[in-house]
């Protein structure tokens, strides 16, 4: 038997920080690996990649990556990243955070970062609940499903994240699950080259919380359910793809949007050149 001396990605991770904090059956390890695989293939120097997050289970991903990493306050990863990217546009800034962080407490920041077409890659891990605080419901909890704070079933409609991102003008929009690691890696890799706002929703199981409350016996069963409920449809009509798997509706995945639209950084640099070029 061969001894493994190094983690195959030892230069991309902080080995001394493992084991990680995530629960058995969680999808976040897969998500981290997909990101790192995409980073390796990106051709962008490792030192130029920066990871920013808010607060929550997903927000712990940056702490394991051997990059300049910033674990900020709840919901505020996007404005933090906005400032950083503007200050140093050579950086490839990726914001990786959860659905609660990006769309509940950080919802206002999301709509404005997308509207500005800010040059950021945003990976939103959606596990349909607040994982770190014990599985309470949020704006992404599917209709009628249970959570620590919807014991009688959720009566609120959910956010349809790709539809929101697209409507706001994001340059790139996709949705995958952690059971589609190859497609997810490719999607992240593609998004790393996008000028402007790139958004990827990643569905991920939360076995001790959302999974448990909704009758899945473990993480694998929950992942399997999402995989079986999924169909890939790149040209899907985005207004129709809200997530409602417990009423027999397919989960629609795909690379939905990849369009050229002037990005914030491009326009800001044009402005600065115009002002500094003329009449000093």
């Amino acid at each position: 038997m061969t001894e493994v001396e190094y983690h195959p990605k030892h230069d991309l991770i902080r080995e001394e920080r493992f084991p990680h904090v995530w629960c058995p059956g969680c999808g976040l390890g897969i998500e981290l690996q997909c990101y790192l695989n995409a980073l390796e293939k990106s051709g962008i120097p490792q030192n130029n990649h920066v990871l920013v997050s808010g607060i929550g289970c997903t927000a712990r991903i940056p702490g394991y990556a051997n990059l300049d990493t910033y674990h900020t306050t709840h919901g505020r990863g996007l404005p933090f990243a906005t400032g950083m990217k503007i200050a140093n546009p050579d950086l490839k800034v990726t914001v990786i955070s959860g659905d609660g962080d990006l769309f509940n407490i950080g919802g206002n920041h999301f709509i404005h970062a997308a509207r500005r077409n800010m040059d950021l890659l945003v990976i939103c891990s959606n596990n349909f609940n607040y994982g770190m605080t014990g599985g309470q419901h949020g704006s992404t909890t599917p209709p009628t499903s249970k959570s620590a704070s919807t014991p009688y079933g959720n009566i609120e409609p959910t956010f349809n994240l790709p539809y929101i991102a697209s409507a706001l003008g994001a340059s790139y929009v996709a949705r995958w699950t952690v059971m589609h690691p190859r497609q997810l890696t490719k999607s992240i890799r593609t998004a790393m080259d996008v000028k402007g706002f790139a958004f990827i929703e990643v569905l991920s199981p939360c076995p001790p919380n959302f999974g448990k409350f909704n009758g899945f016996k473990d993480g694998f069963e929950e992942m399997e359910f999402y995989r079986k409920s999924s169909v890939v449809q790149n040209d899907a009509k985005l207004e129709d793809i809200s997530i409602d798997p417990f009423h027999g509706k397919d989960i629609v995945l795909g690379d939905f949007v990849n369009r050229k639209r002037a990005s914030y950084i491009t326009l800001e640099h044009e402005l600065i050149d115009r002002i500094r070029g003329g009449g000093q």
Partner: protein
Amino acid sequence: MNFLPPGKYFADGNFALTEGAIHAGCRFFAGYPITPSSEVLERMSIRLPEVGGHFIEMEDEIASMAAIIGASNGGSKSMTATSGPGFSLMQENIGLGVITETPTVVLDEMRGGPSTGIPTRVGQGDVMQARWGSHGDLAPITYAPNSVQESFDLEIEAFNAAETYRQPVIVASDQVIGHLTEILEVKNMEDYHIVQRETRKIRNGNEGVYDYSRDFTPMFEAGTGFRGNVDSLTHDERGYPSNESSVEKEMLEHLLNKVRKNEDKIVKYEEFLVEDSKLVVVAYGITSRSVKQAVKEARKEGLKVGMFRPITLWPFPEKRIRQLAEQSKEFIVPEINYGQYSHSVREYSQTEIKEMHFPPGAVPDYRVILKEIERCLK
């Protein structure tokens, strides 16, 4: 125009604050419009592109504060400007700036409160918010200018303090100073001391993001190859999060001591006729200008009264207040609020304090203060 050329200007406080920041090297501004500080945001939108800096109007003050911390970590000296309601929203990320040791400058131009209060008129109700507004233990640095000249000069000093002590530094001005027009004298650029940021780029072996054995460790900026973790969680010197009380103790004592141990260097105040005074009036910001007038009038009557004006509200000028307490049997503390800074004056001086409460909306009338001086000394 790069820097405001040396010379005399007839300018308002908001102009001075903006130009002072640009002199200090501010190259990133994120803000949200709010009366009475909007002119700072507006002028920054003109000036920063001219000097190759960056201006962005954010969706709210929470985002503004987050953006300037991000920009500072990205390599720009950064600031925001706001007033009471926005300052409340910024408290969360002021804490982020403290725990991540990120230099930024926050201008809070005080107006009437609570809540929306009197947006267009003066108040001094944020001085305790500057001290205790963000949760947890902090050692804030807060400057309170009382003139257009000081708005310029202290803005530079605030940036220097932010870079030196690596934390958000607050400039607590007020609506009247912001909109007051008077003489501003700008010196040659080389006559200003500007602290340039020191950074670390290459990481040597196990070198930490922080070094708690030293008060000051240069920060690293994103993208330079340091590969550090900057965390809002309580963290050890490596920058890694921890739940250990011992780590919290080590981190927190470092955050507090780097300011507390240097209070003598940071604290600034102005004294006016205190040498022989039996009574000292403690006042800051716009109120100090009414007090100065009252003291002058009282002196004409032969009353031995002086004024002590903290220029740094925080750290509190504790040593000097204690000394003054030995010569003066009483302090008067007039403020445009219902008693805030007076609590600290009482705590540190351990003497009788006469609070004078002025409602937000107007500059205190010096004659009211004069009457109080007369009542105390006659």
